[in-house]
């Protein structure tokens, strides 16, 4: 971020496109950049990962994204907070359906342990390096990932093992 490299028309942070969403800063790292960007941001003061969640864009693939970001079915969204400077930022990582794996933030932000498990549980996105990637809200033997858009709502047979109806 030195002065000479600053180009106002193509904003980027650590080589990732940046957009503004209702006054909120959003960074779009690729899957490869994700962990490095999170580390670099942590060094800049974004030391708290408040939240991590997934979004399944199956029915909304043509959403607006900055140039150079290829839309994929899944997104992992991370909310970062800088307590010292009182600012927030957001990471949106594109995760393809064919290989739904991203790096885990656990070693950097241990507070993402439960949210990453929840995202795995609800979307089937796997977090590489997570110490205990198991279902957290749904029963262990549940089939499917409920927050996926192709997971039907309505009358679903009860999947509990003990249910004998």
């Amino acid at each position: 971020m030195d002065d000479t490299a600053e180009a106002p028309d193509t904003p980027d942070i650590h080589g990732c496109p940046v957009t503004d969403s209702h006054g909120q800063e959003v960074i779009h790292p690729s899957r490869e950049q994700y962990l490095d960007v999170a580390k670099a941001l942590a060094d800049e003061g974004y030391t708290m990962a408040l939240d991590l969640c997934g979004v399944d864009y199956l029915q909304h693939m043509n959403r607006p994204l900055p140039d150079g970001v290829v839309p994929e079915r899944f997104e992992v969204v991370v909310q970062l907070l800088d307590i010292a400077n009182r600012r927030r930022t957001r990471l949106r990582v594109q995760v393809p359906e064919s290989d739904p794996v991203v790096a885990s933030l656990f070693d950097l932000h241990p507070g993402t342990e439960a949210p990453e498990r929840e995202t795995y549980d609800m979307f089937g996105i796997e977090f590489d390096g997570h110490p205990d990637l198991t279902r957290i809200l749904m029963p262990e033997d549940w089939d499917g990932h409920p927050l996926r858009k192709d997971y039907g709502i309505g009358s679903i047979p009860v999947q509990f093992k003990e249910a004998n109806a």
Partner: protein, 469 residues
Amino acid sequence: MSTTEEEVTEVAIDEPDVATSEAEPSSYAVFIPNTDEGAQLLKPRSQTTARELMREVGSVLRMSEAEAAQLGDLPEDPEEDQTMIINMGPQHPSTHGVLRLMLEMQGEEVLRCKPIIGYLHTGMEKTAESLTYMQGGTNVTRMDYLSPFNNELVFSMATEALLGITDEIPERAVWIRMLMSELNRMSSHLLFMATNGMDLGAVSMMIYGWREREEVLRFFQEVTGLRMNHNYIRPGGVAADLPAGWRDGVLRLLELIPPRLDEYDILMTGQPIWRERLQGVGVITPNEALALGATGPIVRSTGVPWDLRRDMPYMKYDEMEFDVIVGSYGDAFDRYAIRLAEIRESMKIVRQILEAMPEGDYRIQDKKVTPPPRARIDESMEALIHHFKIFTEGFKVPEGEVYVGIESPRGEVGCYIASDGSPTPYRMHMRDASFTNIQCLPHMMRGGLVADAVAVISSVDPVLGGVDR
């Protein structure tokens, strides 16, 4: 549809097998793998090396395994036959609903602990995708059911940010929202006083806490018609204006509660038994709390003065005079004292709101967002159309995504909404404070006594409705 049918047949085929295998006489050990929790179970000591334990501690303190091992306060890795794993909950009365903890004990000492959640999961985030933005409030208010106004508020603020009407919300609506969320903070903390007392054996405190909370809820009922799950704060403003005589109702609360809080001080704060029971129990350091994403009274108990109302003000909190209460030891007593003092601070804010409350509209006069008054429907065709559109289809929210976080009684409650331009959220995610805060439990409990586990759970004040959503 074909996949669901396949699932049906699969289940139908599997079921008899499971039934026969379990009908056979089997030892207890054989039975365990068939429980639904499966891999969520705490692993036996032989499968969990000290190295893994150090990795857990080390990553929270942001240091290497070797450095974590140098700390020396890690529990000794004992022989497996000296430890046992016991379940606490989900029906244990001190687990505040349906939290289940697996505790690895060595005698009375807790070595490891694993919270197991999900017993109250009803898929509310999935439900939110089929409710319009106006119906959404009924859903989110049931998540963290002890702070319904804060949930409604954060959902409404996120919707308003997407609509781009954040600055157009009438003044009176903003002040009413602040009044209700501060009273909500009081009612939530009063309930904490009650449950904390009950968990530690101060049973009379339970009755007192519920009694005072009921007074606040009575005021909520006057304003919204309901004691809980109000759906009062809605996108665009609030559902109804404050009723006649609301000011007397608030003044009555402000008169009634302070002497009761002084009674709490006599009953608990200064009392040696109470202090012995809480001081030095469930200690967490600022580094641990921040790394684990803890917010609210937990992070403030460690001495970090982080309160969104002051540090990232929303609504009119920048005009309010109040103190952010911090602790210094990060123990259960600090968390108790912080909540008690926060009730007093909230009353301070409520007094200022009473003085500042302006006259005016209580909801935005935007026909696309606010349904017309009943009387207008009889005389205006346009009003009838708007009414019909809002109640059948809902109002459309422009494409985009937004995250809004506010300070609820338990910490930061956040709402992330992704909209595809339709009248229902494409995805709505609530960042619930309790969900993240219970990650602190293993770190608070390590090395403590099992009797203190109750005090530690209580001091985190989790609401399982919010945790499981």
